[in-house]
Symmetry: C2
Subunit: 477 residues, 2 copies
Amino acid sequence: MRPETLDNLHRILGDKGIVTGADVHEGYYTDPRGLGDVRPNVVLRPASTAELSQIMKVCHDTAQPIVVQGGLTGLVTGARPQHNEVVITMERMNGIESIDVKAGTITVLAGTPLQVVQEAADAAGMVFPLDLGARGSCTIGGNLSTNAGGNRVIRYGMTRDLTLGVEAVLADGTVINSLNGFMKNNTGYDLKQMFIGSEGTLGLITRATLRLYPKPKTQVVAFCAADSFDAVADLMAHMRTGLGADLSAFEVLWAKTYAAVLSDVAGIKAPIPQGHAFYVLVEMMGSDAAHDTEKFETCLGQALENELIVDAVLSRSNAEIDALWDVRDGMAHAMGKQQPSVGFDISLSVADMKVIESELLRRLQAALGDVRLFIGGHLADGNLHLVAKSLKEGPQPRDTIQEIIYGWVGEVGGSISAEHGIGLLKRDYLAQSRSPAELALMRALKLTMDPKNLLNPGRVFDMGTAPMAGNAKAPTP
Amino acid sequence: MRPETLDNLHRILGDKGIVTGADVHEGYYTDPRGLGDVRPNVVLRPASTAELSQIMKVCHDTAQPIVVQGGLTGLVTGARPQHNEVVITMERMNGIESIDVKAGTITVLAGTPLQVVQEAADAAGMVFPLDLGARGSCTIGGNLSTNAGGNRVIRYGMTRDLTLGVEAVLADGTVINSLNGFMKNNTGYDLKQMFIGSEGTLGLITRATLRLYPKPKTQVVAFCAADSFDAVADLMAHMRTGLGADLSAFEVLWAKTYAAVLSDVAGIKAPIPQGHAFYVLVEMMGSDAAHDTEKFETCLGQALENELIVDAVLSRSNAEIDALWDVRDGMAHAMGKQQPSVGFDISLSVADMKVIESELLRRLQAALGDVRLFIGGHLADGNLHLVAKSLKEGPQPRDTIQEIIYGWVGEVGGSISAEHGIGLLKRDYLAQSRSPAELALMRALKLTMDPKNLLNPGRVFDMGTAPMAGNAKAPTP
């Protein structure tokens, strides 16, 4: 960056708004995959939409690429600085702007941590239902730009579904204020959709108006065992019909994943003995304090009677609810402990979930010999997480494992990223889930909104001249 | 159109696929506002996505503008042919392609009537919850391209929220197949959002994969009277908290609207006498056959006790449910009977709804003398419908009424179109709800996806060189 550009940025942001050289600490280039290999020279810390607009004008005029950062908790290397990129952090644009209980809305700055939004909603007697493990450090801006999912998508939807309005700054500094607070607003194109889930490549989200919901009055959790995948699928349909809109989670652990949770995660007590094929956490959040538990028990009793499940434990207290969720959340910890290994976050049809373990083990073992596979996730959302690990000595054959698994996901028409996004990490496999025509249209939209390719360049897809489809690894036959 | 172009189109579509000259019947240029003043010379009737793609290539090569038609039930003159436009009707792309009860999805062709989709879902033991008066003739493609709302948005959302995947044909014939069937799919830009709610200006929707829900087990309706708007707003919060996700409708009629329903619509019996300020229909759709009615009664009893409502009638049978809904639906009929008059479909904050009647009557009467105003709608969605009528002899002063009402809506930050869209009818007022920067971005997106301005040209906004903001009528002070 030329000194006069730095001076311009300094004039806009003041001393507090800019960090350079040796003062740039590791927090600006570390994410869940570890310390990045590019230390940024300049970190910009705008305190307002106006400041962000002005610095983007400077960056646009000087063709300076930027990477935007929220809480740096993303799992696909989207926020790590690359060569020549200046960091724009949203850490000073942090706070609740307003809350309207009657309308059921909250307006927050993009750098606000998710947990702060949850707590503000709670204090107002409402609930902001987005929830994920990184709640304490991830930011709303990051949640929006990655369209975060989490544990209660089945009931409340993805971040996109929880968002009424967005304010964003375009690459040239233009402020797009679509801070709509209405559930219904058919006045031209719904521009907020451009910024949600596009991973910071089309604009920088600065504020959002989000939906709040009444607090549920009841919460009941069951942990069940089933002996076949068909039984699990039937249980899902049964609980959906029985609980209606009150079904709030349906989480499944494959047997080997359950075994790993019990053996590798400290402090987890088995609610049900091992020896079954599948373990399911079902949760209900209802509005009828007098009868919800009875409704849930009736529904679960029918499932036992119809042999959809062979064993079940029902929560009788908040402590027991927490203990059962600890088993489910132990899945992430157990998968994390398999390092070195290769992780996946995919969407599949129910029919493909049925065969995923046998099919992928067959393909992986044919190519790599002994392989372990840990599978589980948000079954009712169609979303599974999995970890594959070659038992051979030496570094994990990451490319081969990815080619085999993404190849199969592409073959069966699944999604290579259900909730984590693409970032840099999955970019080369995007064409497994999207057609050449779709990728060409994405590029055309990017070119329209960010003609100099300055916003998070290279994330999601590359703007290079090679046709997108050519970037994809060929699926392994 | 030149004869060789017509020949090309004929070759693609065959005899059944093209109607010209005197064979073009009035159905192709009549909508709820009556017979259009432009009779189209050519109507194209593609039977498949492939045929539509080929004819769009021809239209693109010859710069032939088109207007796309579903059921022609839209209320904003979006589907009426304009000079030089060729009609493309989706009437032959009609049918259910597949239904997957376990996944809760249905894939349908764009020309399928909404009611056919509802009935297919019902036959499979599920529900497709989008519902509006035109269900028998409106098509799914039209519902999607206008992001239709309807009566149960509070529980199930708008059409956008019910849509998982879309296939569409771009202006140049490119097929964008984003027929995703997953709730979670963060693989690059969510392109279906470009086609939903953009009123056919960015692409022609050919197929969609939609969400199905389990059938509710119970339905209970109450019709209530309240003596102040504050009481109505408190009732809404109370029922939301009390019924949680089971609250499926909260519809409000202002006193004069209720009076008009009772006096002007045949066959409506007053469930509650006149003399109150507001009348409210509350509906619950639940999953607990044993206890839902009790929960609803308890909730309503508290509302009576706390004097949020002063009278209430509860449905005791399906016939009574229908009769209470007839009163609510009578609102549309009563508003229709005020012709000549000027209709509106707006979103507002609860605070602005409280003053809408007094504020608009004051402004309208100052300009026009004696004026009648009929107000009511989906309060919990933030969406009101209203009809204004000058009592002076002669044609309605439509422009003045629109300027005053849209001017006020713009002033208070409301939306000039909650669910009907913009079309040609509201185009000149779009800038009351959207900023110059938003309108410029809309135009840039249109230019990218339809560079020759061939798809529904002039609907939503004009691509002319004048800045968009200049098109807006100035709000009346």
